[in-house]
Subunit: 449 residues, 2 copies
């Protein structure tokens, strides 16, 4: 293979892999340059002796049609996220268990919460997903934070707390970091707030047997040999009349077009020549990544199930805000996963590993009982520590960004095209959105070459 291809793709996450697949199917030559020593981006499955852990993106759910189509194509199997039994709520210093979707809270708080969820769903329907800045009252919604809107809508503190926990679990950000216009966009992009929040009929409905990264590996294996070059960190992209030069420490490749399929904030780290237009640069200054730690404790058995607990917990105190039962399909181990989110994630980053383990197990014990105190194994992961992610789950729009600069998010710059889940209209922030963004970027290029 010589040094020139039709297209170079920067990043072998789901967006980059999908774009490569689509371009190759259309007969184009493609090279993927990946900074890491693996494919999958923010989706990474770690394998241990007799279990595996999804350290990043994990679940799939209804209406995520593109990821399901890929799973089908590669004959991968999904299975339901465990949610039989009662959920756990730690709120205002008390633990309560409950069945179904309605937490055991005072009726006024429940009504307030229900009203707010219905309202955000209704408002989200007005969003123009292709160009959120054209949404009716876009300027109004983009001038306030999600937190401001929550304060206006919910007079009951308990309702605001629970809505806040759900929001942090959805965005991996404090509601004060997220523009209300972005919250509405994202809600519609992922169908509605209930879908984003829930296991059954929601974005957490199913898991992928073998781990979510398996799909990335399958797509990668299906590409012609040497398409993906790992450990190839791109330092600069030079455009000229002949196309693009993509340059790293020990390499220099040429192509007609390039797809940059990395989180927007990381495009800062690439030197572009000529420099990117001012508005593009200002935009990427305004798309910070969410903050999340995933904390895993592995037990002999999913002991909570015997207590008729589904392993789902939500807490208004401590570092861990929500938990999921991420045990193997056959229940041969008990695997509890806790999310440490937003401001708690930032504080958690200042603890030592021993401290982190201690505080997480203490909370798991509060939620599920004494057995949680002594796992076989504990491991956690901070995505903000990852140089080639900068945070998780995704880049977020603070107030003012969509309306002032949103139109530059996907707009190609001569021969540079942009992919990544942040550029998706549908399931923005999810694996499904990443796949859609890769396909869209490939289509843009196929219209031109």
């Amino acid at each position: 293979m010589n040094n020139s291809t039709d297209v170079i793709i920067v990043g072998a996450g789901f967006a980059g892999l999908t774009a490569a697949k689509a371009l190759l199917q259309a007969g184009k030559t493609v090279r993927i340059l990946e900074a890491r020593s693996r494919v999958g981006g923010r989706v990474h499955t770690e394998h241990f002796a007799d279990f595996y852990l999804d350290m990043g993106g994990t679940w799939v759910g209804p209406s995520q049609d593109r990821v399901y189509a890929m799973l089908k194509e590669y004959q991968l199997v999904t299975f339901p996220t465990y949610d039989e039994g009662k959920s756990t709520l730690m709120m205002n210093g008390k633990r309560r268990n409950y069945k179904g979707l309605i937490p055991p809270l005072p009726i006024p708080a429940l009504l307030s919460l229900d009203f707010a969820i219905k309202k955000i769903n209704k408002l989200s329907k007005t969003v123009d997903l292709a160009s959120p800045w054209n949404t009716p009252n876009a300027q109004h919604w983009d001038s306030m934070t999600l937190q401001t809107w929550m304060n206006q809508q919910m007079r009951f503190k308990t309702a605001r707390k629970l809505f806040g926990i759900a929001s942090e679990a959805i965005w991996a950000a404090h509601p004060n970091e997220v523009s209300m216009l972005h919250a509405l966009f994202y809600t519609k992009s992922g169908r509605d707030f209930d879908t984003l929040m829930n296991v059954k009929n929601g974005a957490q409905e199913e898991r992928i047997l073998g781990g979510a990264q398996t799909l990335a590996l399958k797509i990668a294996d299906d590409l012609p040999e040497n398409t993906i070059l790992l450990n190839h960190r791109v330092d600069s992209i030079v455009q000229d009349e002949q196309g693009v030069e993509v340059i790293g420490k020990d390499f220099h490749y040429h192509a007609s077009k390039v797809i940059v399929a990395i989180p927007p904030t990381l495009t800062h780290k690439i030197q572009f020549s000529p420099a990117l237009p001012a508005n593009r640069q200002q935009l990427v200054q305004r798309i910070p990544m969410g903050s999340v730690w995933k904390c895993y404790a592995v037990y002999e058995k999913p002991f909570w199930r015997a207590k008729e607990l589904n392993g789902l917990a939500a807490s208004d105190e401590g570092y861990v805000s929500v938990t999921f039962d991420n045990s193997p399909k056959d229940g041969s181990k008990g695997i509890m996963m806790g999310f440490v989110l937003a401001n708690q994630a930032k504080a958690f980053s200042l603890l030592s590993e021993a401290q982190r383990k201690e505080v997480v197990l203490k909370q798991f014990t509060q939620f599920f009982g004494e057995e949680a105190q002594t796992p076989l194994f504990y491991v956690d992961k901070s995505w903000a520590e990852e140089e080639f992610s900068g945070g998780c789950y995704a880049g977020l729009m603070p107030t003012g960004a969509w309306t002032s600069l949103g139109k530059h998010l996907r707009e190609p710059i001569k021969n540079i095209h942009w992919a990544g889940t942040e550029t998706a209209e549908i399931w923005n922030g999810y694996i499904d959105g990443a796949i859609r963004s890769g396909e869209r970027a490939a289509d843009e290029i196929l219209e031109k070459i």
Copy 2:
């Protein structure tokens, strides 16, 4: 000079130059690495045949004690910004001229505006400048945008418009991009809202004879030969037990300590090894730069003065929001400067040079009369286009940033110290703040070595 010094400073703006000066005075050896071919950073004076233009930072004013001390030390002269005669207000489709500080608006709107300004001043007094996250109700103020606060405080649209124009002129950002906590911090940092806004007794009170960059050049000239290496873009900083290695394309320098004196968002562009802590990386994802174009028209004479106009205009329509008379001290030319700010700056970036000139001169003509239509010369500058600034005037805190990550703004990371006006407690965002930040970073290092 060998390859090792006590301290390396990245950036020869006012922060870097001041830090170097302080360290050298204390007997340390210093090298400054500057990516541009000039010193001064966001302060740059362009010289023409018989006039000069401050393309970046321009004014100095009361309580900016550190910049005045420097001006005195280098025997530089300041002179008052011209403001004799009437100001011009374009509002709701009408032009009005008025003397003094009170615009000719309906009394209810004026009262509303006055109330809001007094209130922001009063609230700002509660801010803890050294640690804004410790301000009473910090979480409350950091959860809303300045725009949300304006909407709550001012029921009259005209009052909100005028407050909005002032805010955009102060922050080079739309009020929906700025956290209310940051607005309060910045207001106190620059004394009060009136000081930030005004010419007389305000931040725009005086100009520097010869141009603002003259001071940077004087400080630079006063440093030992070869202290500053221009055209030295730093690509990576490696920390080890021996100190720091600072590396660029054709160079490699060693020091015990490094001061990074560039806008926070640009630190993304440097590769750090070991990688910076997650919280530091997340913080710099959350400090976008303001957006501003400076547009100059040069005339034979300051013709507006003959009409008893002071050249100060504010407009609620068009690209140019505010203007200043930036003529030479002796009035030998008429120099009108218009600011295009925030969202208007982003839209202005999409126009051609000919279009930009046309729309600016059209507005100058609306403000000051037909003579404005035919300048001797027109030039404009977008700071967002500048690779080594990323925008102007300064980095801004969106909602949530101060409270979640603010404490990492100045915190040294082993041998890496941080300077730049964004790290200043007093006159944050101004030349004076940059100087204070350089002195503070030098002090930090002198306590250690």
